[in-house]
Symmetry: C2
Subunit: 88 residues, 2 copies
């Protein structure tokens, strides 16, 4: 199943009335166990939000952030509901 | 099925020997048909790569980009294989 079909399936379940939705997923997989490197996903997420807010008006209340870890995989999911038109 | 379990399933299929993998997915869903707004995903993707390269050394040959569209959903998938240690 491709990422697109997975997200299409997710879409059908959600009942929100947003005009537009943006979903950002950051998945980091460390092969060969813990590499001891600092976890940069949270910092990366903040910067990505700053970049995204140049393109769409983001209301902090419309953002849902979820961080999941399993095995050597770390998935950071950011869901943004956009009630109104985007900028530009 | 959560995004994490979907990606765990994907992981098992891939046979790459990268030390670390980073996957960025941007999914944009426009509700109520074509809103006529410009498509900002490609520009957003370039900027996101610039932010990410502050955290990990990215070799352009190690990046795979895939853009898929279906119904009112647009999914931009960026896969980065990181052969070596990340910065910082």
């Amino acid at each position: 199943m491709s990422m697109l079909s997975f997200l299409l399936g997710e879409k059908k379940k959600s009942a929100s009335v947003a005009k537009e939705r943006l979903q950002i997923i950051l998945a980091r997989e460390r092969v060969g166990g813990e590499s001891g490197k600092p976890d940069y996903l949270p910092a990366l997420q903040k910067e990505l939000m700053a970049v995204i807010s140049k393109y769409v008006d983001i209301n902090p209340n419309d953002i849902k952030v979820q961080l999941e870890r399993q095995e050597n995989l770390e998935v950071l999911e950011v869901k943004i509901e956009l009630p109104d038109a985007t900028r530009g």
